[in-house]
Symmetry: C2
Subunit: 585 residues, 2 copies
């Protein structure tokens, strides 16, 4: 037995396996996930695992490594979030989101930090040795809303899109603020004296970290799009580039101390439309599927590790400090949302209702980012107290707030997400209004969002598309593209409806319209296929196959590293099919 040799990959694989099996387990019983959010269940599994490890080894189970979290577990989730980000509501509310993310987070950091310092002055609590700077440092890590936790809860409660994007966008974009404040306070803690220059440098850093992240992300995104122009002959490695470039953007941003989360989101949003146009349909399915799979596993692992890391002896249970932390987190967030929304509502026609405000405040869940940051703190005598407080805040927000938010949404009758997408008519009108508003803004000299959007679209179609897209001979109208996409989907569904025909469940549906063809012969044979079990029609089988199997002559059983069987030259096949159809008609 040579365990050491394979230890690293073996244990990683086993952890991922455990996470996946836990996920399957929850979904086997449909009632459980509808009451308790999956994140709670996963933390619970982690707690049990941690308890077992603690019981067997008699020492604290290993804590989630911060490097592993930031370098390997977080990027897939953020990439997924950025790639599937609904861009219209995001950009429509970008101002509000930035206000919450930047001003709101700063408000929370200083609010929590100063009020905790006040608590530390109460002699009875025996906390006088915690300095103001340490409290502010703690505030900077505990204030930020966590995108992983927010996603895990909000994607299950289906609130209206604006509310969702406000909370979710804030949780993503506050990373830049958190990074700056956390690093600022940490370096202040190590400095003997703090000059006012340092404070101003810190303020300037916000812009560098945030905008730098956006720049890094966009440049990698456009490079990715440009690279996929040249993958026509080697389709099989196309999905790789999407992952490689976005990961590189994250790592590069981290390397320069910029915001990696902002970078990867900018990269994903920047490359999406160009990459989608360049790569093949199958590659795109793979990209989407793998992104979902990866983020799903990462997310599961994070919550399980959170649970495992909670068990152990690295906590200092000073209950007054911990309880006041929880209370201040709730209070300052609620106050911040109220004040900021007051200003936002003064400048918008479409105001944020008080119900929505409540959900925004209540949805400020904390998660694994705080947890990783608190372990990255430099060693000092009260670190264990901070770890305990962070753990309690996370567990409180995920369990109590996460489990009660769904009943609250029901109780308050918060506006839900509309079940259906806008109709074609609505879409046409929305586009018409966009152009109209862009024109009005242009005339009135007010450079608002419609003006900029119009300019961006012009720049995109004039320059970017020509550089980044492979086939840019004739720009198809988006309505034609949509039609093509729907026809393709339709065709697949029809084929699968044909497949349904073999089940006994819906015999009434399988009339002569079966399989989209009114060609008599085909219909007759299709109907025969439905009752394949009858032995008397098996002799007709060969005839059917001989007529329909134009395709099998073409698939070779070759093994090839770079292509999947039957992938080559779809246009060739399509031509042949059309010729055959011609003849048969």
């Amino acid at each position: 037995l040579d365990y050491q040799h394979v230890q690293v990959p073996f244990e990683i694989t086993l952890w991922i396996m455990l996470a996946s099996l836990a996920k399957i387990g929850f979904h086997l019983y449909n009632k459980l996930p509808s009451v308790v959010p999956e994140s709670c269940l996963l933390i619970f599994v982690g707690l049990i695992m941690g308890g077992i490890i603690y019981g067997l080894n008699d020492r604290s189970p290993p804590v989630m490594d911060s490097d592993i979290f930031f370098l390997y577990l977080l990027p897939p989730i953020v990439l997924d979030a950025g790639y599937f980000m609904p861009s219209r509501p995001f950009f429509e509310n970008i101002g509000t989101i930035l206000l919450y993310a930047v001003v709101g987070t700063i408000w929370n950091v200083f609010g929590i930090g100063f009020s905790l310092y006040g608590i530390c002055q109460v002699r009875a609590f025996r906390l006088q040795d915690v300095s103001l700077l340490h409290n502010l440092l703690f505030g900077s890590l505990i204030a930020a809303v966590d995108p992983v936790a927010v996603l895990a809860v909000f994607e299950e409660i289906h609130v209206n899109e604006k509310l969702h994007i406000l909370v979710f966008g804030e949780s993503l974009l506050n990373d830049a603020v958190t990074v700056v404040l956390y690093k600022l306070f940490r370096s202040f803690c190590e400095m003997p004296t703090i000059k006012s220059v340092d404070v101003f440098a810190g303020v300037g850093k916000f812009f560098v970290v945030g905008l730098g992240g956006v720049l890094v992300g966009l440049s990698f995104g456009f490079t990715a799009a440009f690279t996929t122009r040249f993958t026509k002959d080697i389709r099989v490695i196309e999905p790789l580039f999407v992952f490689l470039y976005s990961y590189l953007s994250y790592l590069t941003a981290e390397m320069f101390h910029l915001s990696g989360i902002v970078a990867i989101i900018a990269c994903a949003m920047g490359m999406k439309r160009y990459v989608e146009a360049n790569i093949s349909l199958k590659s795109h399915t793979t990209v989407k599927y793998f992104m979902k799979m990866w983020s799903s596993v990462s997310d599961t692992l994070i919550f399980i590790f959170l649970g495992v890391s909670t068990i152990g002896e690295n906590h200092e249970w000073n209950w007054p400090y911990i309880c006041f932390t929880v209370i201040f987190c709730l209070v300052w967030r609620a106050l911040g949302v109220l004040v900021l929304t007051f200003f936002v509502n003064r400048f918008h026609v479409n105001t944020i209702t008080s119900k929505d405000q409540f959900i925004i405040a209540y949805g400020g869940l904390r998660g694994a980012i705080c947890f990783s940051l608190v372990f990255l703190l430099p060693e000092f005598h009260r670190k264990k107290l901070f770890i305990a407080a962070t753990t309690v805040v996370i567990l409180f927000t995920v369990f109590v707030q996460g489990m009660t938010i769904r009943p609250l949404v029901d109780l308050l009758a918060v506006k839900r997400k509309r079940e259906s997408a806008p109709t074609v008519g609505e879409q046409i009108h929305i586009r018409f209004l966009d152009h109209l508003l862009a024109g009005i803004e242009d005339i009135s000299g007010h450079w608002g969002q419609y003006y900029w959007k119009d300019k961006l679209e012009y720049f995109n179609s004039k320059y970017l598309q020509k550089i980044l897209l492979r086939e840019y001979d004739q720009p198809k109208s988006s309505i034609v593209l949509l039609y093509e996409k729907l026809e393709r989907k339709h065709a697949i569904e029809l084929a699968e409806a044909g497949q349904l025909g073999h089940g006994p469940a819906h015999p009434s549906l399988l009339g002569p319209a079966f399989l989209c063809s009114s060609n008599d012969r085909t219909v007759r044979t299709d109907q025969k296929l439905e009752d394949t079990q009858n032995p008397d029609i098996l002799d007709n089988m060969q005839e059917i196959l001989a007529r329909n199997l134009y395709r099998i002559r073409r698939t070779g059983p070759a093994y090839n590293r770079h292509t999947l069987p039957g992938e080559s030259e779809p246009s060739e096949h399509a031509k042949e099919i059309l010729i055959l159809r011609h003849k048969s008609l």
Copy 2:
């Protein structure tokens, strides 16, 4: 700048990126890959990279780590090979393959080992200090044909399927023999005296290592199939299980000193048919695509690293030893193939022609496995000589043999792979003959391959399918399944043919048969769609869309971690489509 923090993932990503870009680069010029195999080009890129690193640092570039090779780079390639292995020719020739893999490899090991020992006795070469045991150890690592190198060359020359599977199968299955002999000789080198018991134990190990690998692989494969029974509600992590279980089988086999390659092949071949039946179509596309992508990248990295590692100062250039190694590798392989094929041909009607024998002997390429094994040798004073000899053998086989094998195949007019798959008639006759031969074998009491195949099929449909498949209510005849699969493919192609209609290239093909429907209205509108550029028909667009866009009402713009948009309830949609079609007829 904080490079150290992100160094590991950053450098890994950069290497993969380099590999992918190199691949794209070769495919941009179509002429190059048709003359020089990709493996040679990649080694060449590696040599240049190595030269640059050597020139800049003035010391040997880092050598490919054997652990990285065996734990991370090799498994994806072998998994891909096993999953896409054409099972019929493999099992038809399993006897011959095993003969080549086991007896042939032993023959080569001892042949090369003893004759190199003979060379060492020549006083002029100054090699008397290399013992017989060391020569045998060297023989055991240099004798084995490498699956990665063989695949890279043979998938480009398209020889007939039997010849391909003989060389490829041998290269995969000889792993068990190589593992045993290499470890045996290595432990003999460290023992003071060798007892005859040890030699017998070594012989017994062959069976343990090989059969143990098969057992480990099959048990993981069946577990994987069983797991995918329960993933119906959480489709997005289905592909994960295929990768996790096969990787676990490899690691487990390595842990117990069994053959990891044999295990992962058994796992892939065992799970394939059950997993394919259980998982969704999209998951399956993802599995196939990702496997190809991964193996393609691994393979590229291996050849680049091979090139990089060649540059440097860890070689001892004793030319007589090196030249004789190359000659003996060629001679002993040719002799082995001749002798073994003589026996094989006596027992088979379908003999291996002398041309095929030549290609089998000539196709015995060495690659990264030898290279990794030679670096794993314990330190002794002639290790650098062995490294030099291995490097030269690999470069000679990959460059000289790899580049000349295609012209030789042309020159000898070796039977090529048939371009088309067997017709339905042929397939039916093949199946009929299988049943017939199984019956004859049963009657005559000869338990040959047909008898066992029949028994296996019976066992499969009686027990395995019931346990491992999700929907096992009514076993569909394979001909019906094939029909369904073809209809689905057909539907997609038709939709894509509709897409072709917008290109100006083949207007003659786009008659009234367009889009598989003889419904007059649809045809009329489809024809209109062809010339979208005409502005006068744009007003008809809305009508078309209103009639065809039954689907868009259903897609919600939701963001969800676990599902892709538009994935839910295909049966619902299918029903609706059928009802709509009913009405329109």
